[in-house]
């Protein structure tokens, strides 16, 4: 029988599907027939290509993080069934990347027995897949885990099984470190995880250190991670006190950690992909190269410098009522981490808190209070405190609202602190609506969708249900969403009402570079015609801080960061009016300093809100909005004339008297006035700007004699400068920050100041030098 190249038996032969007889026959023919042989080779090459391409295509597929976690949980549940052996479990624990997980599991179980410890767990389906995308050299973070003396026996016991699970040359060895209780389960974010003579290594990015048990206080578990030549030691002590020692020298990386309870938890890898899985209680540390595309992005902030009053007697800035930076840094600190310096914007910290400023009584929508006293962190300097209080508006008197919620429902929003929190937050808001208000719901992922057409608030149940029904999944196309949201807002525009788009996102707002400017222009245009934009960031991992702040700023709205349900309550329930009602817009401040009293000045914070002096009287120039009940706080550090600038960076002027010659001063300069504050604002309805003027007198007080407002704001500013490592921090340190705040707690009805004090203390713990670890 003659076989032609078209004969299916040829491929059957290739795939070893032929019976022995047929195979022998075909082989004979192949030997005699070169045409058939070359056909076979072609098929073989095609087979290889198909295998490679199809596998490449398939390997990027996988379950979502939440699904992976659910499956992992089910798998470990099923393992507990007596006598149950699931075929897939073998494969599950024999993943090449995770061969070690099995080993650690054994180690862990032994330790559990020996020292009554909580240990490990693992099960990371999603994690494995990520090695597809994270193999760049700078993503590599080797991890070495020290194991204590006490565990060596356990390790030996486990050794046998471990070797079975690993390549022959790889074994885990414990290097003793007495007193430490290290237990480590590693969840590789990038996949490959293996044990070697040096310890446990991972080219991934995350490490789980479970808490030491109460019985073992004050010992701590310890893990050392190395990446790119740098090294970081992670010490976790008691549950409440996680500490990251040392610095990750690796320049573009930073570390985040979170305390995890037993259950599902998530981490973000350096591509911004969110991974989750099931683990026992512990601390999880993630190493994220900051320069990677989808990570958190913060615009660099350079502290305002001191300016000589002789050269620049005017300081002009736009107010800012954003608070995102404070909530964001709270998130960091609560996770046992110091925030990146550029994530710290002092004005947003100051404005997070409410102060005891007088409410306006007359026509003006706000009051301005000023106070000058000695500067706590530099005894030779003075500090000027400016407090602006916006009028409260009661909810019943509120103009009708036309709200469009624009909600990011892309895949990355599935975390508990993202979409689920967004739903809760917006449901709070909906519950606070008046019957004349309306709400629409636009979602965006791959495409935008009108999830709920504009609906009157009389149908609250319908709105709440629509929110409840939101589900996440898919990629992000922020641009499409925002256009649609504005369309909906315009269709139902309420004249004399409050028309707002409220964007909730984890920040991954994909806008093409070329379109970004267009988008900003569009947002500005919409703002001019009365539709404002509020932006709320949720969750972590790919927060595009700078973009969001800019967009909200251009959209005449506020930018907030919601890190918890508590914060959602503050923004969407307690202070919902300040969130939604604008009482004045384009609020600008210009301060003229009296050269007889002030030699140089520095505005603390507001770095990206500075205006040129001529912008102050220019009504076309956009500036910040102030909401009902909002307060704005600003601090100036003042250097009296004759006291040199400590930094000596500026030489004295050659052609001009410095300080200003007394004969050139006006009569007013000889008064006790330190400065004059001019404020311009427009009524919420628009029109031309109005001007207010206030003078500040030198109290001559030491800071100890100043008001609670003054001291608390000074504490916050000092905290910000310490976190930013500002060159102007002077004598600011944690004891001073605490002292200032402690004496200025006031009534603190909502506990925000007490919480602040707690954050200061935990930051102090974290900033403590490496040598003094655990000595508290």
């Amino acid at each position: 029988m003659k076989t032609t190249p078209d004969d299916p038996r040829l491929s059957a032969y290739l795939f070893e599907e032929l019976g022995p007889k047929e195979k022998a026959l075909l082989e004979k023919e192949l030997a005699d027939n070169p045409e058939l042989r070359s056909e076979l080779e072609e098929l073989r090459s095609l087979e290889k290509q198909l295998q490679t391409s199809l596998k490449k295509e398939a390997e990027v597929f996988g379950l979502s993080a939440t699904q992976s976690a659910a499956v992992a949980r089910a798998m470990s549940e099923s393992k507990k069934r007596p006598g149950f052996r699931l075929p897939l479990l073998e494969a599950f624990f024999n993943r090449p990347g995770l061969s070690f997980a099995c080993a650690v599991l054994l180690v862990g179980l032994c330790l559990y027995a020996v020292r009554d410890m909580v240990v490990i767990s693992n099960s990371f389906l999603a994690a494995q897949r990520e090695n597809v995308v994270t193999s760049s050299p700078d993503a590599v973070a080797d991890m070495m885990v020290e194991l204590p003396v006490e565990t060596e026996t356990a390790l030996e016991q486990a050794g046998e099984s471990m070797e079975q699970a690993q390549p022959v040359s790889d074994t885990v060895t414990g290097s003793g470190s007495s007193g430490s209780v290290p237990m480590v389960s590693d969840i590789p974010l990038a996949g490959k995880l293996f044990a070697s003579k040096d310890g446990i290594r991972s080219d991934g990015a995350s490490l789980l250190v479970p808490p030491s048990s109460p019985a073992n206080k004050p010992s701590s578990s310890q893990a050392v991670a190395r990446g790119g030549g740098s090294e970081i030691t992670i010490v976790s002590g008691e549950r409440s006190r996680v500490r990251v020692q040392g610095e990750l020298l690796y320049p573009k990386q930073y570390v985040s950690s979170q305390v995890v309870d037993e259950g599902v938890y998530t981490a973000t890898n350096n591509k911004g992909a969110v991974l989750s899985g099931y683990a026992d209680a512990g601390y999880m540390y993630s190493f994220m190269p900051k320069n990677k595309a989808a990570n958190e992005a913060y615009e660099s902030v350079v502290d305002n410098p001191f300016k000589s009053v002789g050269e620049e007697p005017l300081s002009t800035f736009s107010i800012d009522v954003d608070t995102a930076s404070y909530t964001n840094l709270r998130r960091f600190l609560n996770q046992g981490l110091l925030p990146p310096p550029n994530a710290v914007r002092i004005e947003e910290m100051l404005n997070y808190f409410s102060y005891d400023y007088p409410q306006p009584v007359g026509e003006a929508p706000f009051t301005v209070s000023m106070e000058v006293a000695a500067c706590p962190w530099n005894p030779k300097h003075q500090l000027a405190h400016v407090g602006i209080q916006g009028r409260n508006v009661s909810s019943t008197k509120r103009a009708p609202l036309n709200l469009v919620f624009l909600i990011d429902v892309s895949g990355s929003m599935s975390d508990e602190n993202k979409l689920p929190l967004v739903k809760k937050a917006l449901q709070l808001l909906v519950k606070n609506l008046n019957p004349t208000d309306r709400v629409a719901l636009v979602t965006y992922a791959g495409n935008s969708r009108l999830a709920l057409p504009s609906t009157p608030a009389t149908q609250k149940t319908k709105i709440l249900q629509a929110l409840e029904n939101l589900e996440s999944g898919g990629s992000t196309n922020g641009e499409g969403g925002i256009l649609r949201a504005y369309d909906v807002a315009r269709e139902h525009f309420i004249r004399k009402g409050i028309n707002r788009v409220i964007l909730a996102t984890d920040g991954d707002f994909n806008v093409g570079v070329s379109n970004r400017e267009e988008l900003v222009t569009m947002i500005q245009k919409q703002a001019k015609s009365g539709v404002y934009l509020n932006i709320f960031g949720f969750g972590m991992g790919n927060l595009k801080d700078a973009t969001l702040e800019q967009l909200a700023n251009k959209g005449n709205g506020i930018y907030g960061y919601i890190d918890s349900y508590q914060e959602a309550r503050k923004v969407f329930a307690e202070q919902v009016n300040s969130t939604l009602i604008t009482i004045a817009k384009d609020v600008k401040i210009q301060i003229e300093f009296n050269p007889a009293r002030v030699g140089a000045y520095r505005l603390i914070g507001y770095e990206n809100r500075m205006l040129n002096k001529e912008d102050f009287n220019d009504d076309r120039k956009d500036a910040g909005e102030i909401g009902a009940g909002h307060s704005v706080t600003a601090l100036y550090e003042l250097i009296p004339p004759g006291v040199g600038l400590d930094d000596g960076k500026v030489d004295p002027l050659k052609y001009q008297m410095n300080p200003v010659e007394p004969s050139r001063l006006t009569a007013a300069a000889r008064s006790r006035e330190v400065m004059t504050l001019k404020l311009r604002y427009k009524e919420a309805g628009g029109g031309s700007s109005k001007l207010l003027k206030f003078e500040a007198l030198d109290s001559g007080y030491d800071w100890m004699e100043s008001s609670n407002n003054f001291r608390f704001a000074a504490s916050v500013a000092a905290f910000g400068m310490v976190l930013r490592d500002s060159p102007h921090r002077g004598e600011s340190d944690f004891p001073l920050i605490e002292k200032l705040a402690q004496a200025a707690m006031g009534k603190d009805p909502d506990g925000y100041r007490r919480e602040y004090l707690r954050l200061v203390r935990s930051a102090a713990e974290m900033k403590r030098p490496v040598g003094s670890a655990g000595q508290r």
Partner: protein, 172 residues
């Protein structure tokens, strides 16, 4: 086979039937969860055949349900289509320089499935036959003719468009 491989293959397999990632993931998840509650003797070891069968049946059920629901809002379909395109587009961009995946699209559904089951999922003729309900001989025939078709298409591609590598340029 490793678990990870199973995971990505199940999702991928369901995706080739359903054409959207979200439903494919749901189907794969259901499959694994079902496995966890299944008596091991019913599953067999290795569990590949069982997994493929359950995954395929679920995916097809869903597919048929959808077909019988023509009122499926069109925007939703678009949305799904654009989401689902992501992983595939990425892999094309990175890997498919020869355009073999492109060429695959010229095959009919049955051929594509058999080719995938053979080269990606590495099932035997018999396993493919059991799964798809085809006869073993027919599987061999479909495979062989698909390979020949693919080869011709690729030769055409090479002739008309030598720099096929650009075909996967990212969408702006």
């Amino acid at each position: 086979m490793t678990f990870q491989t199973y995971e990505s293959r199940m999702v991928h397999y369901a995706w080739t039937i359903l054409g959207d990632l979200e439903s494919a993931r749901d189907v794969a998840q259901d499959t694994f969860l079902k496995l966890c509650h299944q008596e091991p003797h019913k599953v067999g070891d290795p569990p590949a055949a069982w997994l493929y069968r359950v995954c395929r049946n679920r995916a097809l059920d869903l597919y048929r349900q959808r077909k019988n629901r023509p009122q499926e809002p069109e925007f939703l379909l678009n949305e799904l289509a654009s989401e689902e395109a992501d992983p595939a587009r990425d892999s094309e961009r990175h890997e498919d320089k020869q355009g073999i995946l492109q060429a695959m699209k010229s095959l009919n559904e049955k051929e594509q499935e058999v080719v995938r089951l053979k080269f990606l999922h590495e099932l035997s003729y018999k396993e493919i036959a059991d799964l798809t309900g085809l006869k073993t001989g027919n599987v061999g025939f479909i495979l062989h003719s698909s390979l020949k078709k693919l080869r011709l298409i690729m030769q055409d591609q090479a002739a008309t468009n030598p720099s096929n590598a650009l075909s996967g340029a990212p969408r702006v």
